[in-house]
């Protein structure tokens, strides 16, 4: 039945309330297409969000949805997953929701490896509250709350996820249908917590903040798409490649034709490589996109049910439990 659904069947009749031109539209479109492509069962799919522009997402998807409170979506989703492990749960969050007020819950959902597909829409700004700098804003970001430029160092979502013990880390750009679609499909297939950072353009408060690598002009030269088992090459005709420099313990860009045998082959199971790739920043280095890190591990719900062998089903009776101690009888 579900296989015959189209992207439109996953859209609600709700009027979408993002600013015209917001990157969220493109993400929603790719998301509904992917849901149709993978044949997601609508009744078993849930979108859970926190607070912020991105967190409006559940209202627009014709599945179950829960628009919760600021920063807590991973915690709500964890409880939901434990109550019904059959559900396919997507968590939609932003840089403020997921990394500022809700950083703690994101950390624990990732380290526990709860099977949640966590989409972090990173626009490096607080949109819904009208443009204050966020924990991912670059140093010097001018905003209503930092008129002279922000002065606290930003967090890197990918490195945060890696440090939190995420087993699946991917990245994509809002308007890149193929790249984003591929990453969302991979996240859907993955058994465990899948962390996806999406570079999302806030046209109103932080326009083109990612243009260093999203700009049509620079895209080829400044994006490297990681594919497991394939060389990490980029640029026009894949002329450039990434090499590991032993002396500086870092990645460097080399000529992929001349020094082909020195180009690194992407190994998505290597956490060291993941760290190096996630650390690269355009324009100095290409921005790494795609599935950067993916390893298999036991999921939290499976460990939880391993510890709750009765699967929350009642196999005992309270009447017996009440008597399972020293008792005495009065005649």
């Amino acid at each position: 039945m579900s296989a015959s659904l189209t992207a439109r069947d996953y859209a609600t009749s709700q009027e979408v309330r993002w600013c015209p031109g917001c990157g969220d539209y493109a993400i929603l479109k790719t998301m509904t297409r992917v849901l149709a492509d993978v044949g997601a069962e609508r009744e078993n799919t849930v979108f859970v969000s926190g607070i912020g522009c991105s967190s409006r997402f559940p209202y627009y998807v014709e599945t179950y949805g829960f628009h919760t409170i600021h920063g807590r979506a991973p915690a709500v989703a964890t409880g939901l997953k434990l109550a019904n492990p059959e559900l396919d749960i997507w968590v939609v969050t932003g840089d403020g929701d997921g990394l500022s007020i809700g950083g703690n819950h994101l950390l624990h959902a990732l380290r526990r490896n709860v099977s949640l597909k966590i989409l972090l829409f990173n626009n490096e700004i607080y949109g819904l509250t009208k443009g204050q700098y966020s924990p991912t804003s670059r140093l010097g970001t001018r905003s209503p709350s930092s008129p002279a430029g922000s002065y606290d160092a930003p967090v890197s979502p990918g490195l945060f996820a890696l440090g939190s013990g995420a087993r699946f880390i991917a990245r994509a750009i809002d308007v890149d249908k193929t790249g984003l679609g591929g990453v969302l499909e991979a996240a859907h297939r993955y058994d465990g917590a899948a962390f996806v950072e999406i570079y999302q353009n806030c046209i109103v408060y932080n326009e083109d903040v990612f243009e260093a690598f999203t700009d049509r002009e620079h895209a080829t030269e400044r994006q490297v798409h990681a594919r497991h088992g394939e060389p990490l090459v980029f640029g026009k005709a894949n002329s450039k490649g990434l090499r590991f420099d032993m002396t500086s313990m870092s990645l460097e860009v080399i000529d992929a034709q001349e020094r082909a045998d020195e180009v690194l082959v992407h190994d998505e199971t290597n956490p060291m490589l993941a760290q190096l790739l996630l650390s690269m920043e355009a324009p100095a280095m290409p921005q790494a996109l795609g599935v950067i890190y993916r390893v298999e591990d036991e999921t939290f719900e499976s460990a939880f049910y391993g510890n709750h062998p009765t699967q929350l089903k009642r196999t005992g009776k309270v009447a017996d439990a009440l008597r399972n101690t020293n008792t005495w009888t009065v005649e």
Binding site: V48, L82, T329
Partner: protein, 635 residues
């Protein structure tokens, strides 16, 4: 039981064991209680823990105590003033002395009454020789040395051997009360089944202490005490602590509702025992999730409720404060949720191991905006079972979060319990969607029951019922987001009406002791039940114009409460806070009260309540019966 013990039968005797955290005082207490229960006494216990896990040995702030009140009953408190004290060191003596009754028997472990031991407790002079124990019956026993001698054949290291001293002392106490050792022996055999030398050593210590009693008694050095059997109704009984009864009550609620339950919490004193008890009830359909913090715990419980399980979260005051925003989400999303608050002394970290009832405001009023919810409170350890079922029933009927208030005293206190029959409880109804909706699903999911205002409980996984919920205001009839002014007014009213409607489903307020009208009504809630009940019974022997009313349903109050209270000239409200129920009574019913506040971290003493109430009675009636009052619990 000897003839002497028969003769000595008191209606009730209060015993206190006190020592270092590492002395095994709590274990000694629970073992003593099991054998008194088997011997047919009613009892109530109160463990008094230090805040520090392992405070420096021998210090007053490291004293751990266990108090037991046993007798014919009904016993409802751990007793005002112990008639017998076992003090394992000078610090335990120092801390306990102000609490105990004149003429009480004091057993001290002389091994620890060294110059150093005395100094650590802050004694400049040895209290045994400076006259400060005059008027008590002092029994000096070298417990540690005698224990070491008794367990010598089993080859334990000296520190392990010394640890058997609680069983030595227990053996002695058992003898003093003429109690059998059998149940304790069985426990030791089970507990140390895998460690023969420890098992044998503890048994030897127990018997040695018992034999010491017999020998010393011949020399009249140790008194004998006896207690009357209680007149229990026929049936099967067990002992139960509040935390345990609450855990079983939650499991029972899940069974009655035929839903799985997910208990989500973050460790905090004194709420953790509930987490520990529930962690062992997997077979009863209860899952336990230890979250990363208080907020995550309540949020996970809300997620579970959305998913069709009964979401429960539990904490103490400071943790509940952190959960507040999420609780309001459950109110707005119209999801069931149980919030269990084991209250402790505050504000802030306050007195984590001491009891208080100061979260009533937090439960009734403590949220932003107009966000009412039902509040119920447990009165005794076994009552926690019924209240857990009642709270779940309300949450599922009205699709609302419900506060269940308990406290540090109830969590750890124990009493005998006539094991309830599950058939006696009606199944818990859940709101199901009446058939497949013909129109908009979102609208159908928010179509509320006319009487309870509860909406259908529809969860992900149910085909063709996809809908969205959240914390934004929604249209009263369609369930879709709405920012309309009139609609918000209507929804706010609806949320208030929903909570008010609970009163239509709950029993009328009963009277515990006394008539339905009179001079003074002593009105309480929660764990003060035991002390108020005994106090009013004591007064009732002299004056029948005082009644005891104990409120389980605090928000909303039972419908007849206002009328009931109107029948009394004065309403006295003893509370372990500065008068919070008084405020709520004034707010909801316009009732004027006389608060009696106690916030020392210790439960009310019966005598304190008696004196306060009699003072009030004298003011109202002009009769002062205070000089004629007699002490003692029970009949």
């Amino acid at each position: 039981m000897s003839a002497k013990q028969q003769e000595l039968h008191e209606p009730s005797v209060v015993v206190r064991f006190a020592g270092d955290s590492g002395d095994g005082v709590q274990l000694m207490g629970t073992q003593f209680v099991s054998s008194t229960a088997l011997a047919g006494s009613d009892f109530a216990t109160f463990p008094d823990y230090p805040a520090e896990i392992r405070a420096p040995a021998g210090t007053t702030f490291g004293v751990s105590a266990y108090q037991i009140n046993l007798g014919a009953g009904p016993i409802t408190t751990a007793g005002d003033a112990p008639q017998m004290l076992v003090a394992f060191n000078p610090a335990a003596l120092k801390v306990s002395l102000p609490l105990i009754a004149d003429g009480a028997a004091i057993i001290v472990n002389t091994t620890n009454f060294t110059r150093r031991g005395l100094a650590k407790a802050g004694y400049e002079e040895d209290p045994r020789s400076d006259g400060s124990l005059d008027g008590y019956q002092l029994i000096e026993v070298d417990i540690t040395r005698l224990t070491l001698e008794a367990v010598k054949p089993f080859g334990l290291a000296k520190s392990d051997a010394g640890r058997c001293k609680n069983f030595w002392a227990l053996g002695l106490v058992q003898w003093m009360f003429g109690l059998e050792l059998e149940a304790i022996e069985e426990w030791i055999n089970r507990k140390f089944a895998k460690n023969a030398s420890v098992r044998q050593a503890n048994l030897a210590a127990l018997h040695a202490g018992n034999a010491y009693g017999e020998t010393a008694a011949l020399a009249a050095a140790v008194p004998q005490l006896g207690v009357r059997k209680a007149k229990f109704a026929p049936g099967t009984y067990r002992g139960v602590r509040g935390g345990e009864a609450l855990a079983l009550g939650l499991a029972a609620a899940g069974e009655l509702a035929d839903r799985p339950m997910l208990f989500c919490s973050y460790p905090i004193t004194p709420a953790s025992p509930l987490l520990h008890h529930l962690a062992r009830l997997g077979k009863l359909g209860v899952g336990v999730f230890q979250a990363e913090d208080e907020i995550a715990a309540v949020c996970a419980a809300i997620g579970a409720s959305f998913g069709g399980a009964i979401g429960v979260t539990s904490s103490s005051g400071p943790g509940i404060a952190l959960k507040t925003e999420a609780i309001a989400l459950a109110i707005n999303a119209e999801l069931p949720l149980l919030i269990i608050d084991s209250q402790r002394g505050g504000p802030s970290t306050g007195l984590p191991t001491k009891t208080e009832q100061s979260d009533l405001y937090q439960a009734v009023y403590g949220r932003n905006a107009d966000a009412p919810l039902p509040v119920v409170a447990a009165r005794s350890p076994s009552d926690c079972f019924d209240v857990a079922i009642e709270a779940t029933r309300i949450a599922l009927r009205h699709m609302t979060p419900v506060f269940l208030l308990t406290d540090g005293y109830l969590a750890n206190a124990a009493e005998p319990w006539l094991i309830p029959e599950m058939d006696a409880y009606a199944p818990i109804e859940t709101n199901a969607l009446a058939g497949k909706p013909s129109g908009d699903v979102q609208t159908a999911v928010f179509e509320r029951n006319r009487k309870s205002f509860g909406r259908p409980w529809v969860s992900p996984g149910m085909p063709e019922l996809m809908h969205r919920i959240g914390g934004l205001e929604k249209d009263i009839s369609t369930g879709h987001i709405s920012y309309e002014a009139e609609n918000h007014q209507a929804m706010t009213q609806l949320r208030a009406d929903k909570v008010t409607s609970v009163a239509e489903f709950i029993p009328e307020q009963a009277i515990e002791v006394g008539a339905s009208e009179g001079a003074v009504a002593v009105v309480g809630w929660g764990s003060t039940y035991g002390a108020i009940y005994q106090a009013v019974r004591r007064i009732a022997r002299l004056d029948d114009r005082v009644s005891h009313i104990h409120i389980r349903h605090i928000n909303p109050f039972p419908n007849n409460l206002a009328e009931l209270l109107a029948g009394f000239d004065r309403i006295v409200v003893p509370e372990m806070n500065m008068g919070q129920l008084s405020t709520v009574l004034r707010d909801k019913l316009g009732v004027r009260t006389v608060p009696f506040a106690k916030v020392t971290g210790q439960p009310f003493l019966i005598q304190e309540v008696v004196e306060f109430v009699l003072g009030q009675l004298a003011e109202v009636t002009g009769d002062d019966v205070r000089p004629r009052i007699v002490q003692g619990e029970g009949t």
